[in-house]
């Protein structure tokens, strides 16, 4: 009788231990995955910029400064290391692109260009996707951190060595539309 009780308790404990390990592991996986999704979208943005520049160049002859900002921002993003720096560089590139799109308002021929319009739409959807992936990343961090701070997750976190993780802190201000000087 006593033996059975012990066996059942051991089995239940083992299940609980496994379940909590899996929950932590799954959340970490989700967090890492959304991080790599952000990288994928930033890479797409990098790849689209040369196409945009070549389609814009012919029309915007007097805006070489704005175009140079974009190519510089692209170079900075390519060489950026680590997700925080990449996100920052990505935001800079996005604002540089926005000033190009704002300037494009002055060029009716460019605005009628099918290729340009498609690139514009594509780049703005990438902006949405980066924001969504970031949001999912932070959602994941939130559930993960709540688990590491509440009972009983807290105990398991210390047993397995899962530590609290950092939110992506990129201020919204950096995403704001830049000043366009004429």
């Amino acid at each position: 009788m006593v033996l059975w009780v012990i066996i059942i308790v051991v089995i239940v404990l083992a299940i609980v231990f496994f379940a909590y390990y899996n929950r932590f592991a799954r959340l970490s996986q989700q967090i890492d995955n959304s991080l790599s999704q952000i990288g994928v979208q930033l890479k797409k943005r990098v790849d689209l910029v040369p196409n945009l520049i070549s389609s814009v160049k012919g029309y915007m002859k007097h805006e070489s400064a704005a175009i140079k900002t974009v190519t510089d921002a692209r170079k900075a993003l390519v060489s950026a290391e680590g997700i925080e720096k990449k996100m920052r560089a990505g935001n800079k590139l996005q604002s540089a692109l926005k000033s190009i799109f704002a300037l494009a308002e002055n060029y009716p021929n460019l605005k009628a260009n099918e290729n340009f319009l498609q690139l514009q739409q594509e780049l703005s959807s990438i902006e949405d996707k980066v924001a969504y992936a970031r949001q999912y990343y932070n959602d994941g961090i939130m559930s993960y951190n709540i688990m590491t701070k509440t009972v009983p997750g807290m105990w398991f976190a210390s047993i397995y060595g899962f530590k609290e993780r950092e939110y992506l802190k990129i201020s919204e201000a950096e995403k704001a539309v830049p000043k366009v000087e004429f």
């Binding site: 959304s34 999704q37 739409q121 959807s125 999912y136």
Partner: protein, 293 residues
């Protein structure tokens, strides 16, 4: 007014739905048991075996093909990536926000604004929108509608609704077979003992009532699920504005003709009926809830 946290809302809806599904299942068991007793001892075992085999085949078949059936019943067409650029882009963004793989996208030819999701799990999910929704909704509104559909996928509502639809269908098939069989030499064998006659009466009453009661319960589940999907849509988009405006526009829809089996899947009632018989809560109530978030 008290603000409703969307995490609480989702948890509560999941709990309620589980109880309702259990209820449907108990009715199903009760019905088969009473029919077995009513028809009589000799046949009881045979009925049970055949009933079980047919039920399993029916459930498995329906489960694996539900999304194809739903798309076929509205004659939806696969949405081409280059033609429906925005539609694809929005869904890709939402799949990043929800962690759900991108579902297959379909378009159905209809001037009304509506959309539905179906499938057995997120990996095999489909979303279908009307051409009316693509033409009349702004980007933000379309995003709200699609976020609602993605929530149905992320919350496993699509599997849940598929299973309930199958179980409800099964109850009405069993009831129909039983009632019809009574016309052909029903009272054979054990009719001289009192118990058989009583069970027969109970069986008939149950066969008539069970499909109605269960259908009403199914509709109640469906309405609950809509509130939950609205909540998670707000969680994905971080703002209720798009969905609120889309629902207001949907309020101007004319009734649509769709099969009763797919009606609960749509974002808003395809046709207009009394609330008890509705697959969805009234738009005004949904808008009011969204405005509180």
């Amino acid at each position: 007014m008290e603000r409703v946290s969307f995490y609480d809302e989702i948890a509560r809806n999941k709990r309620n739905s589980f109880f309702l599904l259990t209820f449907v299942f108990i009715v199903l068991l009760l019905l088969t048991y009473v029919i077995g007793l009513a028809v009589g001892g000799d046949y009881f075992f045979i009925i049970l075996v055949f009933g079980t085999i047919i039920s399993i085949l029916y459930v498995v078949g329906g489960y694996y093909n539900s999304h194809k059936l739903a798309i076929a019943s509205v004659s939806g067409k696969l949405a081409d990536g280059s033609q429906y650029h925005q539609y694809h882009n929005i869904v890709e963004g939402l799949s990043l926000a929800s962690g759900v793989p991108k579902p297959k996208l379909y378009v159905m030819n209809n001037p009304q604004i509506n959309a539905f999701a179906s499938g057995r799990n997120p990996e095999n999910a489909v979303i279908c929108v009307t051409t009316g929704a693509l033409e009349n909704l702004s980007k933000q509104e379309l995003e709200g509608v699609l976020a609602h559909e993605m929530s149905h996928i992320a919350n496993y509502d699509i599997r849940f609704m598929t299973l309930t639809a199958i179980l409800v269908g099964m109850i009405s098939i069993i009831a129909q077979i039983f009632l019809r069989s009574l016309w052909y030499g029903g009272g054979r064998g054990s009719s001289n003992d009192k118990d058989g006659a009583i069970w027969m009466v109970v069986g008939i009453a149950l066969a008539i009532l069970a499909p109605i009661v269960v259908a009403l319960v199914q509709l109640a589940i469906s309405r609950k699920r809509e509130y939950a999907a609205d909540s998670s849509a707000v969680k994905f988009m971080r703002t209720p504005t798009g969905l609120i405006n889309a629902l207001k526009k949907i309020g101007g829809n004319k009734p649509m003709k769709v099969s009763g089996a797919v009606a609960p899947l749509f974002i808003a009632n395809p046709s207009k009926t009394k609330e008890l018989f509705m697959t969805h809560p009234p738009l005004e109530k949904r808008i009011a809830r969204l405005e509180r978030m």
